[in-house]
Structure formats: C-alpha cells, structure tokens
C-alpha cells in the first residue's frame, strides 16, 4: 500500500509509516469528533447545558467520561514507559493510587458536591469556606489547568513527531483547533460524548498489543521467564514484595510512601478534588448516578494496566534492544522508555491496525485536552468572571463567556506549548506546581465536608500554608539535593519518593493549620452548613433500591477484586 502523504511527514526520522488505510482511519476520527460537536450545538443552549451537560448523564456515560478525561494527560505513553523502567510497580498508580480514592469519591464525597448544586470544586469551597478560599482555589486551578493543557499539547506533538515524523506545529494546531471547535460548540456535553467515543477507541486500539504480545511471549509465565533472562537479578514483576526497603526496588521507594503518600494524599487529592475529573460526575442525572459513576470508573481503571502497563512489561520480555532514559537517547542511539508503546504498536500492527493504534493515542491526548479546556471555561466563568466582573447577567451571557473562554483556554494552551518548546525544563516546574496544590486542597475539602467545626479562616489558611509548605520543600530539595533524605526519610530515596513525601507533609501541614485556626476562630452558623457538611446534610435513603443497583454493593465488589489482584501480583 502506498505511503501517504508528504504534508504530514516533514521530519527526517520516524518509528512507523502510515499507509492510506491508516490515514483514512485517523481522518475518520477527526470527522467523527467534529461531527458530534456540530450535532450537539443545538442541544447546548443554557449554562446548565454548556457547563454541566444539562446534568442528564447516565452513570455509565459519566463514569466512562470521568475515566477518559484522566486517560489523556500522557497517561498511556508515560506509564507504559514507566512500566518498562520500573516494572509492575507502575501499576500502583492505577490500583492503590486510584481505586480507593475513586470509591471514596463516589460513596462519601459525591453527595456533598452534588447536593450543594455547585458548578465546580472551587465553587464548593466558596460555599463552605467563603470567597477567599474559593477564589484562591479557582485562580490556581484555572491557571494550572490551562498550562497543563499546553504541556500535554506539546507532548502529543512531540510524540507524533517522533513516531510519525509529523511537523510539531501541524500537530499542535490540528489537534487544538479540533478540540476548540467541538468544545466551543457543545461545551461539556460535547466533551463528554467525545470522551466516551475516545474511551472505546483507546481500548480497541491498545488492547491488541497486549493480546499479541502475550501470544509471542508465551503467556504471563513465559513473559516473566523472559524478563528474568533479559534482566538477571532484577525484579520487575512483583507489586509489594520488594517495597520493604528503598534499595530493593527499581523505583527507590518504600511501601509507606506508596500507601500513605500515593495511596492516600496524592491519589485522594487528585481523584476527589481535581475538577477536571469531578466535573464529569457532576453532570450525572441524579445523586445515585453521581455516586455510581466513580464506581464504574474504578472498575475500568482497575483494568487499564492491561493496556498500559502490560505492553511495557511485554517490551522487557520481547524487544531485542534495551531502551534507555530520555537523556541517554542521543548518546546511545537507542530508543527511550517513553517510546515503548509506539514501538510495540509498530512491532505487531500492520496497516489498518496501526491507524487504529495511533488514533487511540491521539484520542487519549485529545480527551485530556478537552477535559482541561472545558474545566477551565467553567471555573473561569462561574468562579472568577461572575463574582468579580459581572454578578447578575442573563444565563445566555455566561454561556457566551464560557464559549469564548474555551477559545481563550486553547489559545493560552497553544502559547504554553510554544513556550515549552523553547524552554523544556519549564515542564517540570509546571507539573510540580500543579502537584503543590492538589494535596493541600484535598485536606481542605475533606475537613470542609466531614468536620462541622472547620471555619472559613481555617480553610483558607490551611490551604495556603499547605501549598506554601509544598513549594518550600520542593525548593529546598532543588537548592540542596541532599535535603531529599530528610524530606523522604531515607538517604536511599529517589525522585518518586520525594513526590510522595512532599505531598504527605503538605497535607499534614494543611490539616494541622486548618484545625488550629478553626479552634481559634468563629465557625459558620449551622444554617449556612446545610447541604455542605456531614451531619447537616440529609442524604437520600437507598433502602427502596435493589441491592444490585446500589453504589455501595458495586463498590464492595470492586474493593474485593482490588484486594485479590494485589494478592495475585504481590
């Protein structure tokens, strides 16, 4: 089949070449997502439609969209590469680093978000703690979201450049204009519809790598034997048994960091307070659907390692070359860990299947980008524009502002992408900045929901001090790398451990300051806490619902499967 076409291939080297059928598959994808955007515009008339998809989503749609928005942000490429580098330990980010938090969101926190009728997480903070906390959260979230979107955009363009040889500017503009059009037209409704489509494509495009890879490697047992042969003396296939000491595993981390840093603070912070994902669940049609959506998402999240981590492990077993870190690529001439997924794709997928796999990668990136942009538009419009610029405008005005914010968000993202292209190191800083905010935010929201005595001053100063302490710890290690042994409590600790412990400390500071300041200041009157805090919120009974339709039942099923999987791969 002829290779097409020259316009896309402006760079010299590339991992794979596309045939005409591959290109047809990619073009069809773009036509489909744009078509959905144009189709849904007629259903997006009110603010509720544009920012919360009319609050009409079933649990399945909201749950799949909830997960798809997370699958973007470099998840697939990055974690497949991490699996090659660290082995099955990378699975912790999908299991203990996600499942308990997602179930907690569904069962415990979702009722407060949903019943309070807030449009966003900063909006909840505003209701619970007042304007200062809500505005601090909104400004940080809005800024970080749009910067992250730009970084993801640049990363996707870089991947397409390395894998397909496509020009970076072409990739940035083509993907961002597509996302801008369909989110501009249909808002969150369009983003959610496309995320469900993207979710299906991601699975169908990536699953084949694992299936054929397992056939080649001789099943799981054969794969483990090959890895041991290729990398003697290293353990890449056990989840917990090597975490007793920092020095026993390739990640340089201890189980305490994984359980309390990742499994508690980072995971709960991300899954329960990052508005990018929570917004999808707020679009559910009723409270039971809102509780069920994260539970459904957790079920699928538990399976994601089979399309992301397993290809990385299979690469350890079957690839003839040893991949290296990004900084060694130029020196050794080898491929980097981050290219493991496209390498496996090129290894097994011929014409057609290759196009489907590339479409899956692009779908992942675009769903994340759309998630960022739609969340940014909502937070900017409702939490910044409305209170500070125009308090009482007609609903249509806010929809219009939301639409233009979508375009503004995309333009700032594009600007960020070009800025990052010039200054690569800025990526680390922005990603670190985002992490500074998430862990303390979780402390503030959790205390706000579960502790009646938490006061507006406590919430604000706790959030601010937690964020500042995270920045301080990060700067300390940056200036003096030896400080890592104090932050992570071991001289053998590595970068990954620093992230875990920094999050843990900043969360602890946030909680302590919130508690102390709350006891020193006057709490809000009881009537202002109704619908916002445990004990003052009437939660609907589910006693008339059959057991198999209750979120708690399915959360229990998933929790049991989670424990069994951890034991199997111990």
């Amino acid at each position: 089949m002829p290779l097409l076409p020259a316009i896309f291939m402006q760079s010299g080297s590339r991992l794979v070449s596309l045939s005409s059928v591959d290109l047809a598959i990619i073009i069809l994808y773009f036509v489909a997502v744009l078509g959905i955007g144009f189709y849904l515009k007629r259903y997006t008339k009110t603010g509720e439609d544009f920012f919360l998809a009319g609050r009409e989503m079933t649990a399945w749609i909201a749950g799949l969209s909830f997960l798809a928005a997370n699958l973007g942000s470099l998840e697939m490429m990055g974690w497949a590469g991490a699996a090659y580098q660290y082995g099955i330990l990378a699975t912790h980010w999908y299991w203990i680093g996600a499942i308990p938090a997602m179930l907690f969101l569904g069962l415990v926190m979702m009722p407060f978000y949903y019943i309070s009728k807030t449009h966003s997480v900063p909006g909840y903070l505003k209701l619970r703690f007042g304007d200062s906390s809500g505005t601090l959260a909104a400004v940080c979230f809005g800024l970080m979201t749009v910067l992250m979107s730009g970084i993801n955009m640049y990363s996707m363009a870089l991947v397409l450049n390395v894998v397909l040889g496509w020009d970076i500017s072409f990739s940035i503009w083509a993907s961002s204009i597509t996302v801008a059009i369909y989110v501009f037209l249909g808002g969150l409704l369009s983003a959610i519809f496309n995320e469900v489509l993207q979710f299906v494509l991601i699975w169908l495009g990536a699953l084949l790598i694992s299936i054929i890879g397992l056939i080649e490697a001789g099943g799981w047992t054969g794969m483990v034997a090959r890895i041991k042969h290729n990398f003697p003396g290293q353990d890449f296939t056990h989840l917990w048994s090597t975490l007793g000491s920092f020095g026993d595993n390739p990640m340089g981390i201890h189980w305490i960091g994984i359980v309390f840093g990742l499994g508690w603070v980072i995971s709960f912070g991300y899954w329960t307070t990052d508005f990018l994902v929570v917004q999808r669940v707020l679009a559910a049609k009723d409270l039971r659907a809102a509780k069920m959506a994260p539970v459904i998402g957790a079920g699928f999240k538990m399976l994601v390692p089979f399309i992301v981590i397993l290809p990385g492990l299979l690469a350890l077993a079957v690839l003839p070359e040893h991949l290296v870190g990004q900084d060694q690529v130029g020196v050794s001439g080898s491929h980097s860990y981050n290219e493991v997924l496209p390498l496996m794709l090129a290894r097994y997928c011929g014409p057609g299947l290759l196009g489907l796999g590339i479409t899956a990668l692009m779908a992942g990136f675009m769903s994340g980008m759309a998630g960022n942009v739609s969340a940014f538009a909502t937070v900017w419009t409702y939490d910044i524009y409305r209170p500070f610029f125009r308090k009482a405008a007609p609903d249509a005005h806010y929809v219009s502002v939301g639409r233009w914010c979508t375009l503004l968000g995309v333009l700032v993202s594009i600007g960020t992408a070009y800025f990052v292209m010039q200054f690569h190191s800025i990526m680390d800083y922005v990603q670190a900045l985002f992490s500074f905010f998430i862990a303390p935010l979780f402390g503030t929201v959790l205390l706000g929901m579960l502790w009646r005595r938490a006061t507006p001053a406590g919430g604000f100063w706790g959030l601010l001090s937690g964020t500042l302490s995270a920045i301080g710890l990060w700067a300390w290690v940056k200036i003096s790398p030896d400080a890592l042994q104090y932050v992570a409590l071991s001289p053998k600790a590595k970068d990954m451990a620093e992230n875990m412990y920094r999050a843990l400390w900043s969360w602890i500071v946030c909680v302590l300051v919130t508690v102390v300041v709350s006891y020193l200041t006057r709490p809000k009157p009881v009537e202002e806490l109704t619908g916002l805090v445990y004990g003052y919120t009437k939660l609907p009974s589910e006693s008339d619902v059959p057991l198999y339709q209750r979120p708690i039942f399915w959360a229990g099923v998933i929790a049991i499967a989670f424990v069994i999987l951890n034991i199997i791969f111990w």
Binding site: L28, L197, L201, L204, I212, A346, G352, L353, L356
Partner: protein, 70 residues
C-alpha cells in the same frame, strides 16, 4: 442521556466502529497476499480484529439507531 430526539452516543460509537471494522478487515484481507512486516503476521490480526469491530459496530448501530428508537 435521554433528551428528546437526541441521538445516543452509542450510535456514533457503533457507526465509527463499523467503518473502522470494514477498513481494517479489508486491509487484513489485502495482507493475505502482501503480508505486513510485523511480528506474528501469520496470525492475521487485522482480519479477526476487523471482524470484531464490524460485529460490535453493527450491534451498537442497530441497537441505538435513531430510526429504530423513533
């Protein structure tokens, strides 16, 4: 999503999978005479994966067809 007159997202998913299935199945058939340069090409993954997509696509397209649900 049950808004009056709105086409289900699953219909869009079905139509796209059907189109992809046809394209991938066709490429798989072409690969019988011109085997692609990939590992385990003799499994003819394109043929059976294409058939799977056609099957899934057809089921979703029919089940969630806007004409069927009128």
């Amino acid at each position: 999503m049950h808004r009056s007159g709105m086409i289900s997202i699953w219909f869009f998913v079905g139509v796209l999978l059907l189109a992809y299935g046809v394209l991938i199945f066709g490429a798989g058939l072409y690969g019988l005479s011109h085997p692609p340069q990939v590992v385990l090409a003799d499994l003819h993954a394109g043929i059976w994966w294409g058939l799977l997509l056609i099957l899934l696509g057809a089921i979703y397209s029919i089940r969630f067809s806007p004409w069927r649900n009128k």
